[in-house]
Symmetry: C4
Amino acid sequence: MEETDPKPAGARGPFRTRATHHRDEAEVEFSRIVAFSDGVFAIAITLLVLALEIPAAATDVGEELWDQRDSLFAYAISFAVVGRFWISHHRFYSSLARFDNTLMGLNLFYLAWVVLVPFSSEVLGDYNENTDATIVYAANMAAASFTFVFQINYAFRHGLMRESERALAPRYAGPANFIIAAIFVVSIPVALLSTYAAQAMWLVSILVGRRISDWVAARQGVTPD
Amino acid sequence: MEETDPKPAGARGPFRTRATHHRDEAEVEFSRIVAFSDGVFAIAITLLVLALEIPAAATDVGEELWDQRDSLFAYAISFAVVGRFWISHHRFYSSLARFDNTLMGLNLFYLAWVVLVPFSSEVLGDYNENTDATIVYAANMAAASFTFVFQINYAFRHGLMRESERALAPRYAGPANFIIAAIFVVSIPVALLSTYAAQAMWLVSILVGRRISDWVAARQGVTPD
Amino acid sequence: MEETDPKPAGARGPFRTRATHHRDEAEVEFSRIVAFSDGVFAIAITLLVLALEIPAAATDVGEELWDQRDSLFAYAISFAVVGRFWISHHRFYSSLARFDNTLMGLNLFYLAWVVLVPFSSEVLGDYNENTDATIVYAANMAAASFTFVFQINYAFRHGLMRESERALAPRYAGPANFIIAAIFVVSIPVALLSTYAAQAMWLVSILVGRRISDWVAARQGVTPD
Amino acid sequence: MEETDPKPAGARGPFRTRATHHRDEAEVEFSRIVAFSDGVFAIAITLLVLALEIPAAATDVGEELWDQRDSLFAYAISFAVVGRFWISHHRFYSSLARFDNTLMGLNLFYLAWVVLVPFSSEVLGDYNENTDATIVYAANMAAASFTFVFQINYAFRHGLMRESERALAPRYAGPANFIIAAIFVVSIPVALLSTYAAQAMWLVSILVGRRISDWVAARQGVTPD
């Protein structure tokens, strides 16, 4: 937390808004971006529970609880996806050497989609066999995934990553990155035919998505381990 | 996180309430103010999603979702404004060299307006063509903007900023600072004539507000980059 | 964040539960207690906004908004009180040199009362002329205040505070500390006669409470500055 | 917060996903896991208050408040249990020397059960004499407890703990660890006979649970202090 300020006076002031900040020179600011993002993730993932609810004056509590099974399924899948989003975000930010204002803006744009998940998830839980509800959910997740990939690409192309990460170019900028986003996009037309098939695709993506993208990356010569 | 305590015993105790604390001498306390503010921003921005809701037993889910478009517009605009508030707060606090109790009080007063945004935003989403709803939203945003400017001015006038920032006096204390607040204030009478025109002003302020205040500052001789 | 582990193996393990930890030796743990408390304060203060709400299909939006004035009053007073609680907590923890498990338990007990405030505040906003609602609110605030004072006294008596703070004994352990709690307690019987009088007492406590306790402390020879 | 990167380029990049990270080499990442978990705990414990609610147009406010006593009981017990979960989590993470991706996944799985508590608690508050509500609550708490024990065992068996903690093997991996989880499991069949008896078991577990597990551990030769 030692602050170093080696540049001449004014060189890193808050109004040098187009400047790039190295994370060691602007540790407090960098930490705040990460802390704010973590806070948003933690709140969004916790608000998922608000979709579960039974009326306060039910005659058959057991049946009301049983009726929550679709909402519980939506809760589980959303918790897994948002949890994975958070882990990816966590890894991405640990690979950054510096940040700029555009990245902060892109990050906010990305978070705006993450914050919508409790809404999409509640709709899916209430209407899990409904085509529109399935499409809204898939579209929300696809938008979050794409804006995240966009953020990574921006950071990669503008040299914001650590040197050690730049060797992984094909991985960061290549197709492996788009697979989870693509699965959600493809599930949209699939939902028109069968909401079950679309939701099964999501489950597959959660269970083996990482393995698929590792495999694509490996074919491009990027060893994941 | 190394704590330095060079002053004589008691000199920086919690009951030296009128004292000014340098951030390096009171790192833990300074971090907590920033962390608390970040937490409030993160929660307020995430609670915006609670304004989106469809009934649990709808007959036409697609139509219910479509009816949420005004709420989604309010969500988008509020997310953008609160996100921008957060970025400004982030920059302002990174320019501080020290803080005092008055600043903490002003910060809480400012945050009280930020926390109201999910309410104003929900009202706007439900009644976006209603004059009263538009005025309440504009008033909330104007109050938040003005209390923030007030906080900056206080910090600037009481020497709480880093020396390197003091060269930017006209920027901090000048009119460029008031432009976003002013747009929200002016939109209040405009809303009496047309809620669309008022809301269009907010969109303009979000999209080009920063550029306008950079331009005003530049005319005063403060180069933003 | 440098970790120092000078004690023999096992000496500060998590199962040495009755041990006292110096904050420099257990910086991560200490930070987590503070961060968790800050999170709870930030969320509780932000949830206050959920008490403000207008129906989604109102015929007269302006009137519905006007009907929220009592809720807005409750919001304002609760935000001020919780904000002050947070500042006091912030000061108290910055004066600690070490902590133990009992203090962590007392802190949780204290936070349990803080977390109840959004409920009490919503009730007060809906029924601000109701005696029961006024009493519930006063009792909640009194319980929070007393458990906080109890926490301070525990820390003071068990030598958990910095040496420099111990000189302030009469202040920490003396009557000045109880004044805000006492005002809330006294307002309970007052509410039986007049809810307005009780609520006026709270306003006075918010506006001049600090000054009163400074004055009491000064009479005991503890200069607040 | 000084970052050290002694390994060759790429050796600790985000795509070395199967690697184990020492907390000092990956301080930022480690802090984020802890901060995210703390955030989730803080939000889940604060959302408990949302179970308390009285209608906005009650005729007898006092009676409505009195009707909340079961919800207040559920609030108190849930706050105590989640608070204890948080303290245990806090201790466990302070005993870690390193972490890996599996631990992050297990931690998310654990948190998914913690986040469900506000729902189970609300159901319990509304229907505290109902067998199904009591079982759902006990099952939720048992699932949280077991996934936490599982996380500890994983960390212990994969050498993620500090050397100084490894001496406490029987404590970490032994039966003392399962006692609180076991009490919740046993309370499930008990609830079929009497919800009061089941809930009394929880109270006992909260009040003397720690003492029981200290006693079991002591019999295995692990002195808790």
